[in-house]
Symmetry: C2
Subunit: 162 residues, 2 copies
DNA sequence: TTATTGGGTAGCGTAACGCAACCAAAAATT
DNA sequence: AATTTTTGGTTGCGTTACGCTACCCAATAA
């Protein structure tokens, strides 16, 4: 049987995973954030099989995360670049990195430090806040059905207590 | 050949994917954030095969994202709950949801709205800012090797321009 | 003109995953 | 107390995804 797909799920996480959930995909996006653009660069950087890389790049282009443009004088030389949809993944990559910096590597063992290019100061960690900037945790949140909610989603939200 | 693993990668994204990257895993975590705790609840909610669910729960427990505790009067009834390491994934789930709200569903078609439990106001979107709260984009950032950087990582950061 | 690099396909083997069947302990029901 | 149902799995089998190697053609470099 085919692997179950999440695209029909009425849930942002499911939709995001439909685009980004395959093994390797997010690392390709990360490399794109690092400035990688060419097929061969991705391949060398990641050590991924070429057929898989090919499929992933195509998938990301189809979903509008990367664009593929021809840079050869007459075809056959391509560049993959982040679209604005791809650029918008910055908070996703950042939250993943910050999570493992803290919970996998541990403070003081980060492999990478990100700074403001101009001031040189470190970027404050992403966190959920209320409109006044106060930090919020899971317990402070309430979910409710949005305009695009399916009956499924609405039902799931009924059981009052979270 | 075995699927390539990312655990030895000197990169936060790779480490995070080692824990969360498998198909289904993040949806299980999402359900846990929604308050799901029992094996059967996860199964019914996700429609996942039981052996896969079993493997994923075990994996998440091993990596300290969920804890498994016995709630039967004498064994054999379990509850899976988020640990603080799991709780710390809130920004990851949130950024993924916000990304697909904007780029997949589109504004006005969000299936889910998250509010402050007390004030009822919507939670502002996660964004990268500098220390003064000004929004930053990819172009405003500079990466440098951290204390835990491998030679590999350092080499990757050399090619000055990003 | 030949060699090399870029960007792939094709074919094969293995690992991951989906499904259905089965199972034992705990809890509920009679 | 005996039976049934629920819970939380495990096992086996088939299919799909993925990794590796080998090949290939067009564009560029020598």
């Amino acid at each position: 049987m085919s692997r179950k797909r999440f695209g029909d799920m009425n849930c942002g996480i499911g939709q995001a995973l439909e685009v980004l959930g395959d093994w390797w995909t997010l690392l390709i996006v990360r490399d794109a954030f690092f400035g990688v653009r060419r097929f061969g660069e991705f391949q060398a950087s990641l050590g991924i099989a070429k057929n898989i890389l090919s499929a992933r790049l195509e998938h990301l282009v189809e979903h509008g995360v990367l664009s593929r443009s021809d840079i050869g004088s007459e075809g056959e030389r391509f560049e993959y670049r982040l679209t604005s949809k791809g650029d918008a993944l910055l908070p996703v990559l950042t939250s993943l990195r910050e999570w493992s910096d803290e919970w996998v590597f541990g403070r003081g063992h980060e492999p990478l430090i990100v700074r403001d290019r101009v001031t040189g100061r470190r970027i404050p960690k992403l966190r959920l806040t209320d409109a006044d900037g106060r930090a919020l945790s899971r317990r402070d949140l309430r979910m409710e059905a949005g305009p695009g909610a399916s009956r499924e989603t609405i039902r799931r939200l009924q059981p009052t207590s979270r």
